[in-house]
């Protein structure tokens, strides 16, 4: 019987740490013995950099542009610990249609039955931040990813983006689309950050899969062109990514989220703003006096 390949899509606000998280996740899963493919869906084509020593790989779309016919194997490159790296690529900023690019790249792979041939356990789609058109929703649509995880910090704009994404997932959930596995809380350092995200996931009917602090270890690794798993495998940060990998490997039940509508979301944010103000009551008041 054919092995069931777990296909996962990682979404989240631009710059929030998706590619960092995804690359470390791929690296950790690979070290745990799984066969992983990381599929970058961003015209910047930088998702798999840190699995490839900081180097960019030729993208599916660039190769297609030059050659008209592309065999999937030509655009799969092995990275750290044998993780298969693919970048869909896309147009330069300001031209063309990146969404259409994602459709074309993903379809190419679907038609060529590559995943079965490589005997993969995981395919992880790292998708560009804001799902602005049909094309970027392709990994959520029926037949591609089964589980979506969204990376978010406790910042309002990141949560707003997550909430928007939940609307997309909910929309596709009835037609066999991917379901929400949970939120990966990133850059969670301040004490209140956890609470904000916890509250958010409670209201939107999902859960936090892992809390990942912001760490200089990650920065150091990236500057070396590596994942934390590769550069500092024994660090506390690496342990957190490994824990995330374990949880995702075990994860089975994703569900349809309950996104808030805009009004609800703003009111919720306002409530937290007030709470935060009263949290830091003492410090803030003193500073304020100082300024006056």
């Amino acid at each position: 019987m054919a092995k069931h390949i777990k296909q996962i899509a990682i979404y989240g606000k631009g710059g929030i740490g998706k590619s960092t998280t995804t690359s470390n996740l791929s690296a950790a899963l690979s070290k745990a013995g799984y066969k992983v493919m990381q599929f970058g869906c961003d015209p910047k084509s930088d998702s798999t950099n840190t699995l490839r020593g900081g180097k960019y790989i030729p993208t599916v779309l660039d190769t297609l542009r030059e050659e008209n016919v592309v065999k999937a194997h030509e655009v799969i490159f092995e990275g750290f610990n044998g993780v298969y790296c693919v970048e869909s690529g896309g147009p330069a900023p300001g031209v063309g249609c990146a969404g259409r690019g994602i459709i074309t790249a993903v379809q190419l792979f679907k038609q060529q039955k590559v995943f079965e041939e490589l005997d993969l356990d995981f395919v992880i789609y790292d998708v560009l931040g804001d799902v602005v058109c049909g094309g970027f929703a392709v990994p959520i649509r029926e037949g591609i990813a089964e589980h979506v995880f969204t990376v978010s910090s406790s910042d309002f704009m990141a949560l707003y983006a997550a909430n928007n994404l939940f609307k997309g997932i909910q929309k596709y959930s009835n037609s066999g689309g991917a379901l929400l596995g949970g939120v990966i809380a990133n850059s969670v350092n301040a004490p209140y950050a956890r609470e904000i995200i916890d509250d958010f996931v409670k209201l939107t009917n999902t859960k936090v899969v892992e809390y990942i602090p912001r760490s200089v270890t990650v920065t150091q690794s990236e500057l070396q062109g590596k994942t934390t798993i590769e550069a500092f495998p024994d660090s506390p940060q690496a342990k957190i990514y490994t824990s995330l990998a374990y949880k995702i490997a075990q994860h089975t039940d994703s569900k349809s989220p309950s996104p808030m509508d805009v009004k609800e979301l703003r009111e919720w944010a306002a409530k937290w703003a007030d709470l935060l103000l009263s949290y830091e009551n003492g410090e803030l008041r003193v500073e304020a006096h100082g300024n006056i």
């Binding site: 050659e67 008209n68 016919v69 249609c97 969404g99 259409r100 994602i102 459709i103 379809q107 679907k110 038609q111 060529q112 039955k113 058109c133 049909g134 094309g135 970027f136 929703a137 392709v138 649509r141 029926e142 037949g143 596709y172 009835n174 037609s175 066999g176 689309g177």
Partner: protein, 489 residues
């Protein structure tokens, strides 16, 4: 690439078979390169014409008697409905079903739709199409616009399931996907295989007959009856129900190798219905090999041999008489690849020498990795190699060839293609009917048709005298390959 019915969309010809639209060389060279994988496509730095595969895809399904098409496209693309309706009425009159317009609806995508998406519009269009026409299947065809904005056709269709009790099937035929119009056929077949054909409940004595129009329906039905089988000419003139039972048939044949490869091989792969891949039934050799191929599959070899012997005795002496008058005639052939190779063989049988072959595109192989039998035959049996170009219907290339070679006659198959040849004074025959030269009678009639065309050249002469061609002297003196770039292997 294998036929994969688990995906919603078939790969294009270029991706699946390595088909090309630019080449210049010879038949043997093309066949050899196709065999060893060294056949590269030559892009053109100047293109006069092309054709959208949507025309072929939609054309195929429009002929299904009780199906409808919803074209998710701007209104310009839906203009295909006009041609589809003309053909539909013509077929109705010829084959005896109601000569009415095709049930072809367009969603009229406009600028707002490209920005905000048009799922709601598509949904409403499908619902209205069902309400108005009560078809037994609806094909939702895509367009360049719906493709670029990433419209999620599948989700809309999935959502409609509770409301619409008939199969609603996506038909992916965005024009930008393929330079080869035959990709459209494959997309249509894929839609049938994934959305209409059901697993077999029993076995029948029906032979699936993949073709374009079916003018020889009566004669072939009589012929097949002699062997205890019944042809189902498809897709034009069939019902959704009949198509759903293609899996129960005893065999599949196709009038054109290029047309039928995906469906024939798909039915064989998925349901075990043997696809009889032989030479096509044009000319004597082709017809006999074809009939023998069928005979073998249905277990009627002896009956077939008896029939062949009988017909040979009847027709061959007549044919010899006409052949003598055709001796020495030189021809240029320009058709789709299946028919180009097919007709070169027929012409050779009639003593007409083909001095140039032009195919609109070229499939190095068919699905299941099978060799193109009509080409293989030519390579093995022609006394000499023939110059061959793959011209993607570039009229300027063809006119260049005709001007240089000045053949006695030009054969083509698609609307308007022989007009240009006539304008430069070349006698031409438009082999528009797919069953021209079919079987013994057909071959005899075809021979007479050729004789008429070369004997009475007044049409070509008179038109040429009164026409100034738009091609410059410069162009007519260049090699026809001037605008072909280097091959990319």
């Amino acid at each position: 690439m294998e036929i994969n019915l688990k995906v919603a969309e078939a790969p294009t010809r270029e991706n699946r078979l390595g088909s090309i639209s630019g080449y210049s060389g010879t038949l043997r060279d093309a066949a050899q390169k196709a065999g060893c994988g060294g056949l590269g496509n030559r892009e053109r730095c100047f293109n006069q014409a092309s054709l959208c595969n949507a025309g072929c895809a939609q054309g195929m399904v429009c002929g299904i008697l009780d199906a409808a098409v919803v074209n998710h496209a701007p209104v310009g693309c839906t203009v295909d409905a006009i041609g589809a309706s003309v053909v539909r009425k013509y077929l109705g009159m010829m084959l005896g079903f109601e000569p009415r317009n095709a049930q072809f609806v367009g969603t009229n995508l406009n600028e707002n739709d490209t920005v905000f998406g048009a799922s709601a519009k598509l949904r409403a269009a499908v619902i209205e199409t069902y309400r108005r026409y009560h078809p037994n299947a609806i094909f939702v065809s895509t367009s360049c616009v719906s493709g670029v904005i990433g419209e999620d056709i599948k989700s809309v269709i999935e959502d409609l399931k509770p409301e619409i009790p008939i199969p609603v099937i996506p038909l992916f035929c965005e024009g930008f996907k393929s330079k080869i119009w035959a990709t459209g056929f494959d997309m249509a077949w894929h839609a049938l295989l994934t959305g209409i054909v059901k697993p077999p409940q029993k076995k029948t004595n029906v032979i699936n007959f993949i073709n374009f129009f079916g003018s020889e329906k009566r004669q072939i039905t009589e012929l097949f009856a002699k062997f205890g089988v019944e042809p189902l000419f498809l897709p034009a003139g069939t019902t959704v129900d009949q198509l759903s039972r293609m899996s129960e048939s005893i065999a599949t044949v196709s009038i054109c190798g290029t047309l039928g490869t995906y469906l024939g091989n798909g039915l064989e792969k998925q349901y075990g219905v043997p696809y009889v891949q032989t030479l096509r039934p044009h000319g004597i050799t082709g017809f006999e090999e074809w009939l023998r191929g069928i005979g073998k599959v249905i277990g009627k070899e002896t009956d077939v041999e008896n029939y062949i012997a009988q017909e040979r005795a009847r027709v061959l002496p007549e044919l010899e008489k006409v052949k003598q008058k055709l001796h020495g005639i030189k021809a240029v052939v320009g058709m789709g690849p299946g028919y180009t190779f097919n007709f070169i063989r027929v012409l050779q049988e009639l003593g007409v020498e083909t001095i140039w072959a032009s195919a609109w595109h070229f499939d190095p192989k068919y699905d299941k990795g099978l060799v193109v039998e009509d080409l293989d035959y030519l390579v093995k049996n022609l006394p000499a190699d023939i110059p061959f170009s793959v011209s993607d219907q570039q009229n300027f290339e063809l006119m260049n060839v005709l001007n240089t070679l000045k053949p006695d006659i030009y054969f083509s198959r698609h609307q308007g293609t022989t007009v240009w040849a006539l304008k430069r004074g070349t006698a031409s025959v438009c082999v528009m009917d797919e069953y021209t030269a079919f079987g013994y009678n057909g071959t005899l009639n075809f021979a007479s048709m050729i004789l008429d065309a070369v004997t009475n050249r007044s049409l070509a002469n008179n038109i040429a005298q009164r026409t100034k061609l738009p091609y410059t002297e410069w162009w007519l003196n260049q090699p026809n390959t001037t605008f072909l770039k280097k091959a990319e292997v």
